[in-house]
Amino acid sequence: MKLLEYEAKRVFSGYGIPVPKGVLIREPEEVTAHLQELGDAVVLKAQVDVGGRGKAGGVLFADDAAAVRTARELFSREIKGVPVREILVEERLPIEHEYYVSIAIDRSSRQPVVLFADAGGVEIENAAREDESAVRRVVVSPLLRDIPPFLMRELLGGAPKELAPVINSLYHVFQEKDAMLAEINPLVTTPQGVYAADAKMIVDDNALARQGIAVNRDLSEREREAEKHGFSYVELDGSIGVIGNGAGLTMSTLDLIEYYSGRAANFLDVGGGADQERVMHAVRLVASMPDVAVIVVNLLGGITRCDEVAKGIIAAGVAPPVIVRMAGTNEEEGRRLLAECGYRMLESMDAAVKAAMEVAK
């Protein structure tokens, strides 16, 4: 789950990483009470989960006289379609230099990877694309508690040594907070020292509970509802509902719909051991989406009981036609039950998707 900037800064600050003085406001007038503490020049940053926020108009500068007016302006904006409900107002730092540091997971070496660049800020991705050597990278064994000095030297190159403790603290955040990503861009030097001017963090969805996060905000309401039943669910914008077992097979079913020039309404993986109850919930959930004209059920596996699945589909009793492809045990009984109630069961996923396309037309 992605954290917003002010949340990530709270986490970083708890690990001793200096962040600018700041305050979170929900009404423009709230800023007035804090101006004395923040100084006569402030930066107002929309707290929205949007990439390229600055370029999209989500960051504004103001002196103290214009702060309320500027806050009002920012609250009235939508940043890439996302309304601004919270603004982080911060002191404006006298920046000397901007750096980039990011810690992520390197799938290839199965270890944390630390990225560092001498030039931080909004253009880092373009810079990295044009010149790979602009970003230095080191991988760190997950068996180590700290980034060892030799790797830190390699990472920093000629950059100031005072950055090292901040980067090492960020590594602690990454390890202890179950982060998939912990990033400071820009990491800035000022006459007063080093600061995390921005902060980005993604927490591993599989570790939310042990990190004390009760609700995964990245999911829509329907997606959360699906999660309660143990389904993986993603909403899309087509008219063909999809239910599969296993992430790969379900994705492959969506792709097949696209291959035949159709559009899937959703991705729903019912997981292993799809019984009557689960299948019924899955079919009802997909049928509850307003644009669904037809539902394709594609289940395969040694232990899927086709009679159970058939009973679940029949029990769901939904309006859109349901076209079924399944293979497992008790296949014949499943087919018979479905046929009795007027449902079609087909032999292959190609055939099932083609049949659904016909209905969707």
Binding site: L143, A207, S232, G248, M251
Partner: protein
Amino acid sequence: MIYGGKNLGVIVQNITGRQGTFHTELMNAYAREVGGQGVVAGVAPGKAGREVHGVPVYNTVKDALAEHDATASVVFVPAGAAGDSIMEAAHAGIELAVVITEHIPVHDAMLAIAYAKLHDCTVIGPNCPGLLSPGECKLGIMPAHLATRGEVGVVSRSGTLTYEVVDELTRAGIGQSTVIGIGGDPVIGQTFVDALARFEDDPHTKAVVVIGEVGGNLEEEGVRSTDLPVVTYIAGVSAPPEKKMGHAGAIIEGGEGDARSKVRRLAALGIPVASRPSEIPGLIREVL
């Protein structure tokens, strides 16, 4: 056959759980059918002395290995404790840990895999269906009846999609040497590179089907690393960015790891890429 054959002694961690019990029975049914060893012991803390389908249960991996000759473990331990169980197995001398468990926190997986490596223990998974060498050995949860013995290797990040492809191959009369699911998580013990290296050393494997999906770029890394003829399929061409498609690792992040660019890069290497699973048998025939 890669990773292990008929003589492989196997333990099951969390053998008394629902999945552990069920699949112990299926693995041993398969072992009997092919004349292999199968599961010789199980582990479940606090449950020593019990039996599961005739297999004795021990409190720890160490206790199990003191009584039985086993070098592989199939791990069904729940997500919160699975990382620890992998390390327990490695520490006790297990050489191959096949981790079925889904939803293990990625930092636990990184730590356990690094620790296992220190102890020369190979980890397959997590979040994988295991492997099946038809006629030889089954470790994990793959449905054996879809497979048939032959010369094509299959390596995949997926479970059921793998069964789909195996079914297509079998129906087309193309048998498999080993079918391995390496797992759907962002961090996995054996990647495509490792599995393909094993296939390359296996005299019975003449070509390999590589089944990938959105997220990361390990399919390309794997394909580049091998001299074997390879056919690929990438799931998730229609996946939207920044959305997790069922697997923790199946996500397009920061504009990277989308299926179309994977397909483009594989095709640029001259590798046949199937646009749907039913095309795979035809493409395999062309490279064999």
